[in-house]
Symmetry: C2
């Protein structure tokens, strides 16, 4: 307990300082938080380590972040762009699996471990993008909802791929019955989630509002959030998916703003900084010079495959060039799902321990670059970048032409 | 993680329901929360158990509750009643140690175990009273600050007594040098706490306000809270004492109200319900009929010794009868300190395992009765009970005469 208290206190102090520096140099705050983790963690100073308690707080950080992502998300807009999101997610899985799996083969991996590495890098962790989108006030933009929707679809595909890989590793063949079970569970979860979003959550939130218990709204929002996170985990999906739908469910009630106001400090003060610092804490130093080539190439590919894959997906779904690029950048971060997949690969002896820690290193690097790319691409999106106050005259002019293109294409999407 | 999420979710659901029932039947909400713990815990249904994660949340619940207690506390009033608090604390230690230690001798305990039982029941856990006082809006009444101040003094005395007991058990004599060290640490803590309250915290809070980071005020308040909790633990005191002074420190800045508004939902949504339910969860059923007599007698004595001891202390410090009774009732709850002391006694083989679990049972029972007694005694305090809206014409008349008595005696206190 004492170690935990002082660790948490140190994390909050350091992230406060890093947040101020990031704002000064106009970097997204999450980058500073991940760097803090790398600095104090095993990679450099080696004074702070991930403990069970910090890991618990980190997991709750993801849950709260995704919940707030859902609260800030526009349900109508999300529905409108759901097909676009699925296209983006599929393209964003195909590219990393094909390219990074292929390159792993070139590095001498056998087919199954190579495919496993591809699957590891197919899983987007959108919570990092949620933090950047929130900072920029873009959760309810059409690009924002597409990123969020695509991340959910991505998680669904990722779970299916992971279970295919696991049965392949263990039995040498694909377990069709097992896969059917997984799909059934997922379908059941999404049906249940729809019921909660449309009926259950608004009714519960109204009940909490009528009963006027102290902190009743906040408590009810957290109950819905935890229950949905648990349900999504039961369906084999990550907690983040359930928490995101819980957020959407609460935003569909009359108390969205109130829930957001109460829950945001809960996340900001205790859980979210631990999550981002935790990413850095999981990074270890790499001694082997041979590994560095692998790391550099895979990091670059990790970024490019998502930008190209999801960007192309975005174009296919009818987005303009700048918007598609922003969506691609928003899908770059990898996090808990990639780490879990890598860990499963390690436990199943598909990945050796030296590659396991290397892959974690790559995940950290990719995730470190991602928020920066997202922030840079946001500025180029007309109508959206202007909010940032960075876009000058020229961009604004380009914006007008591109904006008409985007509005035209978004109609194409809704007409699909 | 999955077990934790569903446990937390269940705790929040059950405490929401119990809270509504308690309000309906006009009981303090904490009683409902403790009963929920007894109901679902090992004592009855046996479906929920204390885990490391729940225990962590419970500890943070105490810290946040005491922090909010400090924020709501009036520093000037606390200073004014500090001497009264010390008198109340001393009397509240002498009575349980003498009476409960004596009765333990009659039950056949040897002198050292008997004294240990007395020490166990000398430690007040004021966080429970803080919840009731907060509910009644009485944290900044003169009775409220006396209870809070006395609880701090009580903790100081408790730590000294516990270390005396430990050296007695281990060496058969009192280690004067060790005691001197403990006292020195405590003095250092209180000097540091004074510096934080007067200068450091207000400066840090102002800095957070000027920097305008999102959730900056809340994060800074939590940083101060955790740092002080850690420091008090370093000095051998409970986390609660440090958190309480952190609250006072924040209330001494310009951002007291803002910090309170942000931190209260943090506690209410996640940590505080876990703390109260956790008390119930630690209660186990008692099979042995011989133990029941011991339990009943010790529970009654646990309540009476604090009410009489602290009530007398209150009278000695110049409070009126009703106020003294309220202060006595506010000092009845036992919690983490008593549990820790009992555990040390168990580890040092002073208490057998059958008596260890019995004592935990008694602690739970005493703590269950305490909020009810406090609520009942609050109603009888003139000027204070009237706030409750319960006091009728008669009470109001009595109030006028007693109020003059109290105002007169409170001057005596300040003149001391």
């Amino acid at each position: 307990m004492t170690t935990f208290i002082i660790s948490l206190c140190a994390i909050l102090m350091l992230t406060t300082v890093s947040g101020l520096i990031c704002r000064k140099v106009q970097l997204p705050e999450v980058i500073g938080q991940i760097l803090v983790g790398i600095l104090v963690g095993p990679a450099l100073l080696n004074v702070l380590h991930m403990s069970d308690s910090l890991s618990l707080f980190s997991d709750l950080g993801i849950i709260i972040l995704m919940f707030l992502g859902g609260v800030g998300c526009d349900l109508q807009l999300l529905k409108k762009y759901s097909k676009a999101a699925i296209i983006i997610a599929c393209m964003g899985v195909v590219f990393p699996v094909a390219v990074m799996g292929g390159v792993s083969l070139l590095f001498g991996f056998k087919p199954i471990p190579a495919a496993f590495i591809g699957v590891v890098f197919s899983a987007t962790s959108v919570s990092i993008s949620v933090a950047v989108l929130k900072e920029a006030g873009l959760l309810d933009s059409k690009e924002g909802v597409s990123i969020l929707g695509a991340a959910v679809a991505d998680d669904v595909i990722g779970v299916i791929l992971l279970s295919v890989m696991c049965t392949l590793v263990n039995t040498g063949s694909v377990d069709v019955a097992g896969l059917g079970m997984i799909l059934l569970k997922q379908v059941l979860f999404f049906v249940a989630a729809a019921v909660v979003v449309v009926w259950v959550a608004p009714a519960l939130m109204t009940l909490a509002g009528v009963l006027k218990a102290p902190s009743g709204i906040a408590v009810m929002a957290i109950i819905i959030c935890l229950a949905m996170a648990w349900a999504s985990n039961l369906a084999g999906l990550s907690y983040a998916v359930g928490a995101f739908f819980a957020g959407i469910a609460v935003s569909n009630s009359d108390y969205a703003e109130e829930a957001d106001r109460y829950i945001e400090p809960v996340g900001d003060t205790l859980f979210v900084p631990v999550f981002f610092v935790g990413i850095g804490l999981q990074t270890t130093g790499v001694d082997d010079p041979k590994m560095i080539v692998f790391i550099v190439i895979m990091t670059i590919l990790g970024v490019i495959t998502k930008i190209v894959g999801c960007g192309l997906g975005g174009r296919m779904a009818g987005f303009g060039g700048a918007s598609a690029l922003m969506i691609g950048a928003g899908m770059v971060p990898r996090g808990e799902m990639a780490l879990i997949t890598a860990q499963i690969g390690f436990n199943e002896h598909v990945l050796g321990s030296e590659y396991y820690s290397t892959i974690i290193f790559i995940i950290s690097l990719v995730t470190l670059v991602a928020p920066l790319l997202l922030k840079l691409t946001i500025r180029r999106v007309p109508g959206v970048g202007a909010v940032d106050g960075v876009a000058g005259e020229t961009v604004a002019t380009v914006g007008t032409t591109e904006a008409s293109e985007t509005s035209e294409t978004s109609e194409t999407v809704s007409a699909e």
